[in-house]
């Protein structure tokens, strides 16, 4: 067998081994409800200098003949990083980030400004603590640490929101938008820092690089985005699907990457920006997004994560004080910045803290930053190890910390119905019943009785609120900050014009805040669900006390 053939064999075996170990440990971690990336990183530690390199040096030598990662694998990993950023960009929706308004903008900008400043000041004042070597200016080094602790990882955050079930809530949307915005600011600042590194391959001076970077981002996001939006329908309809579209995304992403690499920043910035430009197209099918995410997740992401541990011996470069300092900076900076942004944006203390902890994950983005800095000689192995540990710790601890602070009390009908507003009555007309419920609710919640009554009767006159299965559901929208409800269990049926022709015996009054239409729709639908059959309603009618009535409602 020729030398070249052996090399190819070795390359293929190494890649399969890397993938196998990464996927196996990734799966294991998913089973124990931990992020797969942790397993993938540990796989790298096992295969790299930390474990195999220490205990089985000859096998390690065979796998990685240069002692590190061979050039061919290195190329593959660069590609993996570029693609990771490409798909990450695909999900950044600038429209949403801007539309979410003040709160999202405050969270994302303070979420960058505060940790960034904290990092810069700390590192600039005590460069020795962070292992700064004098070959790069101190300020540049400080700026890097600043950005490394202020970036956040959208996929990790999105997954956490999904897992704890708040993806589609107000707080969830604010966090997602802020994370998207944060990503853009973070990568932009980082690219500018990289442009300033003045590495040998950079053909331009700093000012030119800066202008080129900003113009590239602007042109791609504003003009190229529109052009892409016109081309996509053509590709999706005329060229084989989904191959044509996947090819288009990859080719454009790689070209963007090549461009930014050429102007002296880093390839990843180009693919990230191109990702944004493509992802904002209204024509891009959701299926394509998922396909491309799957492809990158299952092949390239594990390769990248496993490679983290291949570079450095984590054991010998583990520096506890440094890890602690980085961790403290990252946690305080991010939680303070994002939390303050949320608080100033009008959220309460607990929600603000939840946002702060929700945004701390630096995940893959933090690691990629560290890796680039390590490669360019800006940081030492010890700092790299500390950054990786920080990225993993923030990603793993985000969910439980957020869970602790978030107000998980979902607004439900049974949650807002208080026993003192459940009555056993004997009315003969619907007006009497409505008036009684309105009066009592207004007294308990200190509402304007007349206003509420007018509102409810106005709605009642538009169309009767008799539903079915003995339920009548008069309701209105009021000037109040939360929804309230009251119920009357009437000893005889009252004519409410119910759809099934039956008279109503359970009359529920629901009042929701004026500007919260969706909340009203959700509560109405929940109540409707709870009265879906006459049998169930008969059970409610058997209740003898308000608490028993609520308990029965809760059971359904």
């Amino acid at each position: 067998m020729s030398g070249e053939s052996i090399n190819i064999t070795r390359f293929l075996i190494t890649i399969s081994l890397l993938l196998f170990t990464a996927k196996a440990l990734g799966e294991l971690f998913t089973r124990i409800r931990q992020p797969a990336i942790m397993g993938e990183i540990i796989a790298g530690l096992i295969l790299g200098p930390t474990v195999i390199g220490t205990f089985f040096p000859s096998f390690h030598q065979w796998l990685f003949p240069d002692g590190g990662i061979v050039t061919s694998i290195e190329g593959l990993i660069t590609l993996a990083v570029v693609l990771l950023l490409l798909v990450s960009g695909l999900e950044v929706d600038l429209t949403i980030a801007l539309r979410q308004g003040k709160t999202a903008i405050l969270i994302s900008s303070l979420g960058v400004i505060i940790p960034f400043s904290l990092g810069v000041v700390a590192v600039y004042a005590f460069p020795g603590l962070f292992e700064h070597n004098s070959s790069h200016p101190r300020m540049l080094f400080a700026l890097f640490i600043g950005i490394a602790i202020s970036i956040s990882a959208l996929p990790v955050i999105a997954k956490i929101l999904m897992d704890i079930g708040i993806f589609r809530t107000e707080i969830g949307s604010v966090i997602i938008s802020a994370a998207m915005f944060n990503d853009v600011i973070g990568w932009l600042i980082f690219s500018i820092i990289l442009g300033n590194l003045g590495t040998a391959h950079n053909p331009f001076n700093f000012a030119t690089t800066l202008i080129l970077t900003l113009s590239f981002a602007f042109i791609a996001v504003v003009f190229l985005r529109k052009l892409i939006n016109r081309i996509i329908p053509y590709i999706q309809n005329k060229i084989s699907y989904p191959g044509g579209m996947l090819g288009f995304i990859f080719i454009l992403g790689l070209l963007g990457a090549a461009f930014t690499q050429y102007i002296g920043i880093h390839a990843i910035f180009g693919s990230f920006i191109i990702g944004i430009a493509i992802g904002n197209s209204v024509h891009l099918k959701e299926e394509i997004r998922e396909n491309i995410n799957q492809f990158v997740t299952n092949l390239f992401a594990p390769l990248f994560f496993v490679s983290i541990g291949l570079r450095v011996n984590f054991w010998t470069h583990f520096d506890l004080p440094l890890v602690i300092i980085i961790m403290v900076l990252a946690f305080t900076g991010k939680v303070a910045g994002c939390g303050l942004g949320a608080y100033l944006g009008g959220m309460n203390k607990n929600d603000s803290l939840a946002v702060g902890f929700g945004m701390i994950s630096t995940g893959a983005m933090g690691i990629i930053l560290g890796l680039i800095a390590l490669e360019s000689g800006l940081i030492t192995e010890k700092l790299y190890v500390a950054l990786v540990i920080m990225a993993v710790t923030t990603s793993v601890s985000s969910a439980p910390l957020m869970n602790y602070f978030i107000n998980r009390k979902k607004i439900t009908f049974t949650g807002i119905l208080r026993p003192e507003l459940v009555f056993f009555t004997d009315f003969s007309t619907k007006e009497e019943a409505i008036r009684h419920l309105v009066d009592s609710t207004a007294a308990v919640h200190k509402l304007d009785k007349k206003d509420v009554l007018n509102d409810v009767l106005k709605r009642e006159n538009e169309s009767s609120t008799g539903i079915a299965n003995y339920l009548a559901l008069p309701h209105g929208r009021i000037k109040f900050n939360k929804p309230v409800a009251a119920a009357a269990i009437n000893s005889r049926g009252i004519e409410f014009g119910a759809l099934d022709g039956e008279k109503s015996r359970i009359i529920i009054l629901l009042l929701t805040p004026k500007n919260k239409n969706e909340m009203q729709l959700k509560l109405l639908s929940e109540i409707g669900q709870k009265f879906r059959s006459q049998d169930i309603s008969n059970e409610y009618l058997s209740a003898e006390t308000p608490r028993e009535f609520i308990k029965l409602l809760n059971r359904e």
């Binding site: 997954k159 993806f167 589609r168 995410n293 992401a301 239409n517 969706e518 729709l521 959700k522």
Partner: protein, 280 residues
Amino acid sequence: MDIPFKRLGLAITFSPTGKALLKEAIRLKTLFNASLYLIHVGKRTAETEDHLSAVINEAGLSASGVNILWTRGEPGHAILASSKAAKIDLLIAGALEKENILKYYIGSVARKIMRDAECSALILKSPSDNPAGFKKFYISTDFSEESEYAIRKTYQFALLEAAQEFVIVRDYRIPGLASTVLDSGDIEDLEHARELWQSEEEEKMRIFIRELNLKGIKVTSFCLYGREGWRAGNFAKENNADIFALNVAAKKMKFIDRLFPHEAEYAFEKLPSNLLIIRD
């Protein structure tokens, strides 16, 4: 029957579509039993007066029977100012202007009206010399109170037209969703979550329509996953809607809205059909 608009305004020019637009406006004037104001930007001379009278006569009205508002200045601005002064509640304009024999484009006046008018606006894509009325109404909703208002107005319009279809469309999107699979997410979990959200949207829509309590024309509804603003408009276009209606907040659009489209901007950019913009 309730009348959705009482004072109609028509931005009238001597363009080739001028007469057709006027005919459409006259039809609507009769339909709504409303008053009609013609707004013309240009110098008032004996010649232009004659010209305008000729157009009005040709459309079947006498010039003495209509209110003509003469105004000067930058057309978009001037039309909006006159319309405001005359308390117009529906401003009608043609969408397309002709550049040469082959090329039409959405005119700057139409854009100005779509974006900045303080009242409701009806932008007609291809006004006809023999207006046949509108039969298919599509309207997008975000379940808000403003949208509810827009639906009621549009429904009154549809009732007067004895429309065949009245379709309420809700488009919604969950940004960042696909990226959850990047971090060890399962595509099945994602599908499941999306199905759940879809059924939630459909349930909300069902109750929303019940609450609207619209009587006369059957209301159908769709909840579609896709870019807000674009998806609903595109759906209307695919189904050959005669009118696509939407509610727009009565505030001035900023430059940023054009850079990163506002939901409504998608429809302004590329009209899915005739466009009815309802402002409260």
